[in-house]
Symmetry: C2
Subunit: 192 residues, 2 copies
């Protein structure tokens, strides 16, 4: 990804001009991570968000020693433990790469600085956090209203590529079922 492509990526929410975008981009540090890199432990305060250029990152919490995946981020999403990044409290979720990842890292200090330099960043981040809020609300309501099979079908419809990229046991934990139950769901649907 060259400088221009990087910049275009950030135009989606706001009308920053080229020179503004260059300064903004200077606060986003390009990094690469290997597959299965832990980016944040549960209980630590999150100081970084990761704009995903390539790869896949998951959030998970732990219950009785089991990992429960709570979200999967892919290309062009801001991955992170937002609640901790925003509240400055210990994170309830861990962050881990599921594939080799190419990211742009923005630190909390960097973000604060950007708000000072460019008040327009407030609009950019407002729109980004509104999108995250909508996704989280959809997820929360689907936990309340839908069966694991229905949620599997929603995943298949909304983010089919995830089912190819992510290990089955992590899809299962995201749906709140065992790996065996997920296989049963898939078999049942295959016969329909």
């Amino acid at each position: 990804m060259n400088e221009q492509e990087k910049i275009e990526t950030f135009r989606q929410f706001t009308d920053f001009n080229d020179s503004e975008l260059k300064i903004i981009m200077s606060y986003f540090e390009p990094k690469k991570f290997k597959k299965k890199t832990k980016l944040l432990d549960i209980g630590k305060v999150s100081n970084e968000v990761f704009y995903l250029i390539k790869g896949c990152i998951r959030l998970y919490c732990e219950k009785d020693g089991e990992e429960l995946s709570t979200y999967f981020f892919t290309e062009n999403m801001f991955a992170g433990s937002y609640d901790s990044f925003l509240s400055r409290k210990p994170s309830k979720v861990a962050i881990e790469t599921l594939e080799e990842c190419q990211v742009l890292v923005l630190t909390h200090k960097g973000q604060e600085k950007l708000y000072e330099i460019f008040p327009k960043m407030n609009e950019f981040i407002r729109k980004a956090i509104e999108q995250r809020f909508i996704l989280l609300h959809d997820l929360f309501i689907s936990y309340l209203l839908n069966s694991p099979e229905e949620r599997y079908l929603m995943l298949l419809k909304d983010r089919p590529e995830l089912l190819q990229r992510i290990p089955q046991h992590q899809i299962a934990s995201f749906l709140g079922v065992t790996r065996v139950s997920l296989s049963r769901i898939r078999n049942r649907l295959a016969k329909k």
Copy 2:
């Protein structure tokens, strides 16, 4: 609540000056609603958010004809079906007053207009939506990790006044248990 008190309420997130705040407040229409007023039906697009001066408002979704309470708003909170208000898609939750309410209503058009007049509104709303995101994330994680009894104890610790103000069956549906189970939880804890 007089004009000055109304204005102070809105200073918490930003540094608007008095004349700016007067214009902003002119977009918030004071209204009163009786107890048990439906403010939004499931399936409708939400066009209003309600800043609560006095009273209590709940969100709920429906499953198999049963109402599941998903959130309770009280004084000094922005109550609303944010996901629909932001995404302009049909709401998955309904909005209802649980007590006689005194509110300031901001319409979606009013909000858009305020962004135009005062770009600083982006900072205000960014901070408000960040707070909502954190609350929703806490709620989501507690559904995944905690038992109904643990969630009852969290409610008792964080928002004890809710347990006095809200009917037991709605507290039960918020915790994801029956009214009978909630009574058992309360009895068990009373004996400790």
